[in-house]
Amino acid sequence: MSAALILDWGLGLAQAMLTLAMALAGWRMIRGPRAQDRILGLDTLYVNGMLAIVVHGMRTGSELYFEAAFIIGILGFTASVALAKFLMQGEVIQ
């Protein structure tokens, strides 16, 4: 079994697990039951998505996906923070 094959299969599996994790988060987003659950789901979706990007970069051996992952890492929380604040205050910015 060559290293390439191990990497290919292993990372493929990791990616599949992460997308499964995304699907689970998506399930929570859809099921709710309450808005906070959905926001939580979205936040998880973002984090898992970011990890999936990293693994995809590994699979393809490319550094070009870093920026996207980095942006999610540093800015991805904005959407969920705004949602959470809306939930808390009924207004995003006052």
Binding site: M22, A68, I74, F86, E91
Partner: protein, 976 residues
């Protein structure tokens, strides 16, 4: 002066005069009249001077190019026929000017009247002098338009407005048909030049297009000359000042239709269709007009219907198809113009001096104005066809034609009878006009005490009556040669022999004349009393079918029908519009696909399936469907789910080798989510529990089903199309070139970015303009934003937070919220520099790696947004001076200047330059002008998106401020 110059002067003078007279002050009655009179007389002189040439065989011609590619020239062409009409136009015109000077009140803005009048004279002249079919149409329509203005001269008068509207509607409509007819005629003849067309009669009558051409041209002619059933506009046009009625609606404009039929008689007549259409229309018009005239109480009304009847008579003559009838038609046209114009003027004098035109109120005017009465009686006698007057001569010719034309046609058989009846009617109403107005006991309670008019006001009538008598007595010395010339210019070799003598011996026409005179007198004796008072108002038998009413009703019906149709065929509601658009798209795509036999599942190539990707899209699809399902009642959930779908499409871009897209998508996604949330606050509460009205529910369900169908079909269509294209082998297109040349020629490794800032930088320039424009629009809109009353109050959450704080000692409202934001605030504060760093990174590396000005700008925007989110607008703006509009402007300027930097180097706009600078320590530093362009983009993006966010965010602030100032005001009021 050469003939063609005379001709041009005659044609131009009225227009010049028209322009000059409007420049006079509104009260300059004398000056205006003098100018108008001079113009008409000068024109008349020109035309009169041209008499020898006009009757000399070859017409006088002056021509000028107008639309050469269409074969349309402006040709003035004067032959004997047009000479007669031109003299009528100018001669009666001059008399009308004189008359109008005294008729019009001092308060009337007379220059305007004369302005229109002279324009009309010019249009009429242009019409009769046309040597080109299209030019004829041009002046034809001009007469309609100017007559509209003239009829509506007293625009404060409702009937003037109505009359003007009806006249222009009917005559201009006819003119539109005429245009098409003339185009067809020219097409058949191969030229629009009158001479050529007149020479192509045989070809025209044989053409398959003859019938439509004829119908269209006659539609013009019959509407203009007020033939049944289009005659209805003429009585209503009598709302015009009387001089105008005398001129337009008896002497000239209505004769335009007659002129047209005479002019084209050689090429259009002689067929069954001509005979039927023209003959029937003429006969019907003659009888209906005469019958209606009998019952009018208004002097002008009587004359108007009489005019209609006489126009019908002339039309009937033209319809008969014999050359002699044409001569009679021309002759009667002239005669009618003279006696009818003088009658109108007489009626005008009566109106002017007594204040009424109602024959029921008028009586015994003979005593008060014997001179006018005499003139009117002579003219009326001419109208009635009394011997020794001109009307008698032409009527004799008509009756002779009626007797002679005994063909197989039923019209011919009945013609002598109807001709006699119509003549008898004419006698009847002429008699009534004279008797009821001038005889009988003197009228009481007239608005003014009647007396003879001003001396000058009678002169035009005298002149016209003189003409009536002169022609009637010595036709061969007066009208003879002119008539002969005109007949020859129309009929050419077919000109018949005729005799204009007063006495032809005892023959059938004479018998009919006598019968008509006697019959008319007898009828008046029998029915006179009842007709004179006629309480029913309208003509017997016909008063149920008032064309004017029918027209108005039709117009109203048309408008209402159009409104109905507008709502049936169109909609102002958005949903049906969008539904239609999607349906049309479905239809267009499906029809093309089926028509071309498109197979969506050819499968030329596929990429290896990855279950992870499928899993990803399971999430994405679920999010999309969830968002669609929840968008009505659970907006926040829908926004959340939309974010999920956005993230999935971002990951898809990444997966499929588009990191730039992923970066942009995720950034835009974040900003969009925040914006939607900012908007959410101002939307009304929506509750699932509130049921829709029962009646609505079934309809709504059906609509939803249809929409679902459209959505599913369109979605499947788009899926199918994308599948089909993706699985086909790639096309050898332009893309390879970009990949090969991006680095060597544009110095960038990230081909997508190079495309954006260099190869297709023009797109990007446009794109940032969109962004800038939208930013400004949003700003403008939100500056005037007024929230709906039900979303004015603070969100319940904030009220509750404040309540908690108020309930506890030592806490001010806002503390709890502030505590909740403590950690976010700190994190966001210290994160900000790193976001700026990220933006810098994205910006600088964009040319070689994913990123670029747009991504950097959005990242900066998010940094701003986070500050607003954590601290509130007031806090941020105390510390940061934000001038987004300046940034937008700056961004635009920087990008444009970056593009124009290439101009000094003789390169086109946006030509990028790049170089490697060998810096001392740093080594090779890439310098690309595209970076400056990208900088402009970044500045603009920050400006625009910050502007949008801030403008949205400020709404809450404004609301708070408004509430505060309200509270302050309330507080200030209390102690007082």
């Amino acid at each position: 002066m050469p003939p063609h110059l005379l001709l041009v002067s005659a044609a131009l003078l009225p227009f010049l005069g028209s322009a000059a007279v409007i420049a006079l002050p509104g009260h300059a009655r004398n000056a205006a009249a003098a100018l108008a009179g001079f113009v008409t007389l000068a024109g008349l002189a020109c035309i009169v001077l041209l008499y020898p040439q006009a009757t000399g065989g070859e017409p006088v011609v002056a021509a000028m190019d107008w639309l050469p590619s269409l074969g349309v020239r402006l040709v003035l062409r004067l032959d004997a026929l047009s000479w007669i009409f031109a003299v009528l136009v100018l001669g009666i015109g001059a008399l009308v000017v004189l008359y109008a000077r005294y008729y019009m009140a001092a308060a009337d803005p007379v220059p305007r009247l004369f302005c229109y009048f002279l324009a009309f004279v010019g249009a009429m002249l242009g019409l009769v002098l046309s040597g080109n079919l299209i030019q004829l149409v041009v002046f034809w329509e001009m007469t309609s338009v100017v007559s509209f203005l003239l009829i509506g001269y007293w625009s404060d008068n409702a009937s003037a407005r109505d009359g003007a509207r009806m006249a222009v509607t009917i005559t201009a409509a006819g003119g539109l048909c005429l245009l098409v007819g003339m185009v067809l005629l020219g097409q058949i003849a191969g030229s629009y030049e009158l001479d050529t067309v007149l020479g192509a009669g045989e070809a025209i009558r044989k053409s398959p297009l003859y019938l439509p051409t004829l119908v269209l041209i006659l539609a013009g002619a019959l509407t203009k000359s007020a033939q049944f059933p289009f005659h209805i506009w003429l009585p209503r046009a009598m709302a015009a000042p009387t001089p105008i009625s005398a001129y337009l609606h008896s002497a000239t404009m209505v004769k335009a239709g007659i002129f047209l039929m005479i002019r084209f008689w050689p090429v259009l007549s002689g067929t069954e269709s001509w005979y039927w259409i023209v003959g029937t229309a003429g006969m019907a018009t003659m009888l209906v007009g005469a019958w209606s005239a009998i019952f009018q109480h208004d002097l002008k009304g009587l004359l108007a219907y009489s005019t209609i009847s006489h126009l019908g008579l002339i039309t009937l003559l033209l319809g008969l198809g014999s050359p002699l009838a044409v001569v009679a038609a021309i002759f009667h046209t002239v005669n009618h113009a003279t006696f009818k114009a003088s009658l109108f003027m007489a009626a005008g004098i009566i109106d002017h001096e007594t204040g009424t035109r109602d024959m029921r109120r008028l009586s015994g005017l003979w005593r008060a104005m014997p001179y006018t009465a005499t003139l009117a009686m002579v003219a009326a006698a001419a109208m009635a066809g009394v011997p020794l007057l001109n009307g008698f001569l032409s009527k004799e010719m008509f009756l002779a034609e009626a007797v002679d034309s005994t063909g197989a046609h039923p019209i011919n058989t009945a013609l002598p009878f109807f001709a006699t009846v119509a003549s008898a009617f004419t006698v009847l109403y002429s008699l009534r006009f004279i008797r009821q107005t001038f005889f009988g006991p003197p009228a009481r309670d007239l608005p003014h005490a009647p007396h003879e008019p001003a001396r000058w006001m009678r002169i035009p009538i005298e002149a016209l009556v003189l003409v009536c008598i002169a022609i009637g007595l010595v036709p061969n010395l007066t009208i003879g040669p002119i008539l002969a010339g005109a007949a020859r210019s129309v009929l050419g070799d077919r000109t018949p022999d005729y005799d204009l003598a007063i006495w032809h011996g005892f023959n059938a026409p004479l018998a009919m004349s006598v019968l008509a005179l006697a019959g008319g007198v007898a009828l008046y004796r029998i029915f006179g009393r009842r007709i004179d008072t006629n309480p029913r108002g309208g003509p017997w038998l016909l008063d149920r079918f008032d064309g004017g009413h029918l027209f108005e009703r039709a117009m109203t019906g048309l408008v209402l029908g159009a409104r109905r149709l507008e709502t049936i065929l169109g909609t102002e509601r958005l949903q049906p519009q969008l539904r239609l658009i999607f349906l049309a798209a479905l239809l267009a795509a499906t029809a093309t696909g089926i028509g071309r036999g498109v197979d969506l599942f050819l499968q030329g190539r596929t990429t290896a399936f990855d279950p992870a990707f499928a899993m990803l899209w399971l999430t994405g699809a679920a999010c999309a469907l969830g968002a669609a399902e929840r968008a009505k009642y659970h907006r926040l959930s829908a926004v959340i789910l939309l974010g999920g779908a956005g993230l999935v499409s971002c990951l898809t871009f990444l997966w499929l080798s588009a990191p730039d897209l992923a970066v942009t998508q995720i950034l835009v996604e974040i900003v969009t989510t925040v914006m939607l949330l900012l908007g959410l606050r101002w939307l009304p509460k929506r509750d699932e529990a509130i049921p829709a009205p029962l009646s609505e529910r079934a309809r709504a369900r059906r609509r939803r089903l249809i929409d679902l169908g459209i959505a599913v079909l369109a979605g499947s269509g788009l899926a199918g199309l994308s599948y089909a294209v993706m699985t086909r082998p790639p096309v050898e297109g332009i893309s390879r070139w970009f990949v090969e040349e991006a680095y060597p020629k544009a110095g960038g490794r990230n081909v997508v970015n190079v495309l954006l800032v260099d190869f297709r930088a023009f797109d990007t320039l446009g794109e940032i303009c969109v962004l800038g424009v939208v930013g400004l629009t949003v700003f403008a809109l939100l500056r005037r934003f007024r929230p709906a009353p039900d979303s004015l109050e603070r969100p319940a959450q904030q009220v509750r937070f404040d309540a908690i704080d108020r309930a506890r000692e030592g806490r001010e409202p806002g503390h709890t919220a502030s505590d909740a934001l403590l950690v976010p605030r700190t994190v966001i504060t210290w994160l900000s520099p790193f976001i700026v760093l990220l933006a810098l990174h994205l910006f600088l590396r964009g040319h070689d790696l994913p990123g670029g000005g747009f991504a950097a700008g959005i990242a900066l925007t998010i940094a701003f947004m986070l500050q607003y989110l954590a601290r509130g607008a007031e806090w941020v703006e105390e510390r940061l001076r934000i001038r987004p509009i300046t940034w937008i402007g700056l961004g635009l300027l920087v990008s444009v200047l970056a593009g124009a930097m290439s101009w000094p180097f003789s390169h086109p706009f946006l030509t990028a330059a790049f170089a490697y600078w060998e810096a001392p320590v740093l080594g090779k530093v890439p310098l690309a002008s595209a970076l400056i362009f990208d900088l402009g983009i970044m500045i603009l993006v920050v400006g625009s998106s910050v502007l949008m966010l801030v403008a949205l965010a400020h709404q809450s602030l404004r609301r708070t401020r408004a509430a505060e100032s309200e509270a302050e005001r309330a507080a200030a009021r209390e102690p007082a």
